[in-house]
């Protein structure tokens, strides 16, 4: 019948010819997206491993643990981020952003966590992008982490810092915890102002709530150490509570 013939895909209508072009276009972009997704998963998994490595820190193994974490991070950069950069070369970074944003966020989280633990400062976006430069200088447009992904990664960083602070307090490193507390408060305050002008801020709004909870958890932990430490003073008459009592350091 009439319809049967025309429905046969082997027939060559102008419509079919056009759709063949669309099909090519979609195949190419989908293949690229698929490769980017795969490269992103590697970045994510291995960035997470760097973060776990940092959490293996304790009072006495700091140097060693951070050294390892840093080496791992360099490996993530050279092995996996470079692959991602490669896949993205020459593409509109914004088009495939959804495919790689979780990876880049996790990578920001890992890199800033390492830097904070080593130097106590915030690793800047420019510095991060400078590290990525050599990976991509062969191509016209090197991958640049955009502001949004950087900020989203930073929001997650505060969760890891909270875990770190709780751990440090258990190890008796109160100063360290307080340093974290100040740092996280600063980031929280700065982000407060940026959230409403961020591109698509629904995700960020959720993260802000989690972040406030993290801040409060650290503050409560510091409070708890403080009032507990206060009981120490009258007993020994010393001005400074001896926080080294805390934690397992004295086994």
């Amino acid at each position: 019948t009439a319809i049967a013939t025309s429905g046969d895909p082997s027939s060559n209508s102008p419509m079919k010819e056009e759709f063949a072009k669309y099909a090519n276009y979609l195949n190419e972009i989908n293949d690229k997206r698929e490769r980017v997704v795969k490269a992103s998963r590697d970045v994510t998994i291995n960035s997470k491993k760097v973060i776990f490595q940092v959490h293996r820190i304790s009072k006495d193994n700091k140097e060693e643990v951070l050294m390892k974490a840093e080496q791992d991070l360099v490996a993530v950069t050279n092995q996996y981020m470079s692959k991602l950069v490669n896949e993205l070369k020459g593409t509109d970074f914004w088009k495939l952003r959804r495919a790689y944003t979780p990876a880049v966020q996790e990578y920001v989280e890992a890199a800033t966590l390492c830097t904070f633990c080593k130097t106590g400062t915030l690793l800047n976006l420019d510095e991060m992008n400078a590290t990525l430069q050599p990976l991509s200088d062969k191509f016209a447009e090197p991958l640049q982490i955009n502001v949004l992904d950087y900020l989203l990664g930073l929001a997650d960083l505060t969760g890891e810092l909270m875990r770190l602070a709780i751990g440090r307090i258990s190890d008796g490193e109160i100063e360290y915890a307080q340093k974290i507390c100040r740092f996280v408060r600063d980031i929280y305050r700065e982000l407060t102002l940026l959230v409403p002008i961020m591109d698509d801020n629904a995700e960020m709004k959720k993260k802000m709530e989690v972040m406030l909870q993290s801040v409060v958890k650290i503050e409560n932990a510091c409070f708890s150490v403080h009032v507990r430490g206060s009981e120490y003073i009258p007993l020994l008459g010393s001005g400074d509570p001896d926080y080294s009592f805390l934690g397992v350091s004295d086994f």
Binding site: I3, P14, M15, Y22, N27, W94, K95, I197
Partner: protein
């Protein structure tokens, strides 16, 4: 502090892109307004208003819509490489626009409006601000959603040949879509929906055929084959 400096910098950047976004959104809203008026005119085809009259009503608004998209294009030319950064802000308006002009085109010619023609009709130029192919395809799916209702109302108005023509068009269109290797979630979903349009039109065709309402007989069907 360095934190403050960095965040101050971010603020400036974000405010910049925020204002671009706002200008685009305003234009997209106007384009959507025009689209609504076109849509309202198009509803009249279900009441069997002659197509030329419908076209006449829609003309001015189509012109307006094209102009709004043209002005979005102007803005994007100022931000090279950021087409997809703001894509979300006019995407759905573009899809609607495509569906409308493609439906009108089909009513006039019986043919599918091709991507390049849609692009041109919407005042988009392929170089910096082209019509995204997925937007085009989704728009075509929306157009397909209108066809079952059209067929039903045409038959009620006495046009018994309409189901056969629409079924042929939709079958071809569906077959063409099947050539695509779809992964994108929304497009896949919309295309999956096209199946229901096809089924409904098949049912309407069945209803008129089984009652012998189609003037033509098997001979005419064979002629059609030769089309």
């Amino acid at each position: 502090s360095s934190i403050e400096t960095q965040f101050h910098d971010f603020r400036l950047q974000l405010e910049g892109s925020g204002s671009v976004r706002e200008r685009i959104r305003a234009l997209a809203a106007e384009a959507e307004s025009a689209a609504r008026l076109i849509q309202a005119s198009l509803l009249l085809v279900h009441q069997s208003l002659p197509i030329p009259e419908v076209m006449e009503k829609a003309k001015v608004q189509i012109e307006a819509m094209r102009e709004h998209f043209g002005r979005i294009a102007d803005i994007l030319r100022e931000c090279p490489g950021q087409y997809y950064r703001y894509h979300g802000d006019w995407k759905s308006e573009t899809q609607t626009a495509v569906s409308l002009i493609a439906f009108l085109h089909w009513l006039e010619t019986g043919d599918l409006l091709m991507h390049a023609d849609a692009e041109r009709k919407l005042g988009m130029d392929a170089s910096e601000f082209g019509l995204d192919i997925e937007d085009y395809l989704i728009g075509i799916c929306y157009m397909s959603n209108e066809l079952p209702r059209y067929v039903v109302n045409q038959v009620t108005a006495g046009d018994y040949d309409c189901p056969r023509k629409v079924l042929k068009f939709l079958t071809d269109l569906h077959a063409s879509f099947r050539m695509l290797n779809l992964r994108n979630d929304l497009l896949r979903k919309k295309f999956d929906g096209m199946k229901y349009d096809l089924r409904r039109v098949e049912e309407v065709y069945y209803d008129v055929k089984i009652r012998g309402l189609i003037s033509g007989d098997s001979k005419q069907d064979q002629n059609t084959k030769a089309e």
